[in-house]
């Protein structure tokens, strides 16, 4: 029985094996995971916004391509997209970025993320009260300006929690670029753990990689909940209860023809 437990411990929680890869995990793995995820998120946000605006436009020639793009990249397994792009465009990439598959990995993740983020933005923007756009238009704002100044910022604010969730998904999916065969200095968390696991015949380095993922994702999950609660409650506590009766006389003037007219 103790043998069995000891075997489990050595397979998953061999602290010596973990300690050995820890510097690499921190210096190479974590760094690259964060770079890949952040880059994919930024590009995904930009492309996603373009897709969202296309998706709500009145022109079918903008809506349709956005729809098709979204259906494709949301409909395919991430690994398939990453392999198709990572290997299919290797030639192009080579002439621009050199032999590293790193940029193509980021590009593939970005394209997938854009499809999801586009849908998030679109839902957020469409959820903004129609009266907001109407008020802008009634003030003489053009449609693009009204969107940019008023509607889109409100829509984005509504979907911040969903965007954080999307970032969490990207962090986890960034492990898939492993399939493109990264250079040693480009390995992200999963690849660092996987290589060390193969080398030592022990899963502990992968468990350590898992711990690193959790360190990124779990706090973010709680951040989402915090956002969610804050946005749900809406109205901030002010100085205490107020009375609408006080306001009755806010429009009183020293000379008010209407009011005085009533009395004469």
């Amino acid at each position: 029985m103790t043998d069995w437990l000891e075997l489990l411990r050595r397979t998953f929680l061999d602290f010596d094996a973990m300690w050995l890869v820890f510097p690499q995990m921190l210096g190479t793995g974590l760094k690259n995971t964060l770079i890949i995820s952040a880059a994919a998120t930024v590009i995904g946000l930009v492309l996603g916004m373009v897709l969202a605006i296309m998706g709500i436009s009145r022109s079918i020639w903008l809506r349709l391509p956005a729809r098709i793009y979204t259906d494709i990249f949301r409909g395919l397994p991430a690994i398939l997209t990453i392999l198709l792009i990572g290997q299919g465009f290797a030639r192009f990439s080579q002439s621009v970025f050199g032999p590293s598959p790193y940029p193509l990995g980021i590009l593939a993740l970005s394209l997938i993320a854009a499809a999801y983020i586009g849908e998030i933005f679109r839902a957020g923007i469409q959820g903004v009260d129609k009266g907001q756009l109407e008020a802008c238009r009634a003030l003489g704002m053009s449609w693009p300006r009204a969107m940019r100044l008023v509607v889109v910022p409100q829509g984005v604010r509504r979907v911040l929690p969903a965007l954080v969730n999307q970032f969490i998904a990207i962090v986890k999916d960034s492990s898939l670029v492993y399939f493109l065969g990264l250079l040693v200095s480009e390995r992200e968390l999963f690849r660092v753990g996987q290589d060390a696991a193969v080398l030592t015949g022990n899963l502990s380095p992968l468990v350590l990689a898992g711990a690193f993922y959790m360190v990124i994702t779990v706090p973010l999950t709680h951040l989402v909940n915090y956002f969610d609660n804050r946005f749900r409650t809406g109205r901030r506590p002010t100085a205490g209860p107020t009375s609408g009766l006080k306001e009755v006389h806010e429009m009183d003037r020293d000379v008010d023809p209407l009011v005085h007219g009533e009395n004469t």
Partner: protein, 256 residues
């Protein structure tokens, strides 16, 4: 002029409203005709109240004047010029509109709400726009609340900010669509007083309302609409005291 610290509204500026003519106006949603041959004139600086049962097309009519919904035929004349021949964005800078549900920008303060379009649409430098916004807020009695966000204001205060926002653009005509219908009863009066003082300051106003007392006291002309048509129009005393048509009599017996 800087913010009055007393919170008393400053006197309403004097406005120069333009005349508004509706000429055989027709409007439709798809193939569904909602406004049929509506014609009336609102002389410069006067107030016309539009009354009528729900669904009679009052909101649609207002939205036709500033072309939030394009008329199918007929014409709208502002100061004698056809509104249908200018660019809608230019037209709307000259026509202020106030909505039932205020539609203030929730992430802007009262001051920013009033200054936004002035700065971004009319291109007034930011400092000047804020100055004008402050004056308009003083006028509607909200100078001391310039830095509040809409959610920290009562419905009545929000509606007065919305009026200030429209006035800041120096419109020639103001359109009001049931602006007190969403307000708690004790907050209605402040908004109506503001509108009354605006009416007496030279603004041209078209007011869709269910406040019959307001229409009787403030309007120069009352237009009764039903089923997309003007059934009766004239001075308030005549419409309210000697209604000619059966439909207006029926309507008044329901609302008075």
């Amino acid at each position: 002029m800087s913010a009055t610290t007393t919170g008393r509204p400053s006197d309403t500026a004097t406005y120069r409203g333009s005349s508004l003519d509706l000429v055989d106006l027709r409007m439709a949603y798809g193939s569904f005709e909602v406004i049929r041959d509506v014609s009336f004139t609102v002389p410069a600086g006067t107030t016309t109240c539009v009354i009528g049962p729900s669904g009679s097309g009052k909101s649609t009519l207002l939205r036709g004047v500033n072309r939030l919904h394009e008329p199918t035929s007929g014409d709208v004349l502002i100061a004698g010029e056809s509104a249908l021949e200018v660019h809608p964005d230019r037209l709307r800078q000259r026509i202020g509109m106030v909505f039932q549900h205020f539609n203030l920008f929730p992430d802007h303060t009262a001051l920013q709400n009033v200054a936004l379009a002035l700065h971004k649409v009319k291109g007034v430098p930011k400092a000047d726009a804020l100055e004008v916004a402050r004056e308009r807020l003083d006028e509607v009695g909200l100078g001391p609340r310039a830095d509040h966000r809409p959610r920290d204001l009562s419905g009545g205060q929000q509606q007065r900010v919305a009026i200030a926002r429209a006035l800041a653009m120096q419109p020639e005509v103001m359109l009001f669509d049931e602006v007190t219908s969403a307000l708690d009863p004790e907050l209605v009066k402040g908004v109506l007083r503001l509108m009354a003082s605006l009416a007496s300051s030279g603004m041209t106003m078209v007011v869709v309302t269910h406040e019959m007392n307001f229409a009787r006291k403030v309007a120069d002309q009352v237009v009764f609409m039903d089923e997309g048509e003007v059934v009766e129009a004239g001075p308030p005393a005549r419409l309210f005291d000697q209604p000619q048509s059966r439909r207006l009599r029926a309507f008044l017996s329901e609302v008075l």
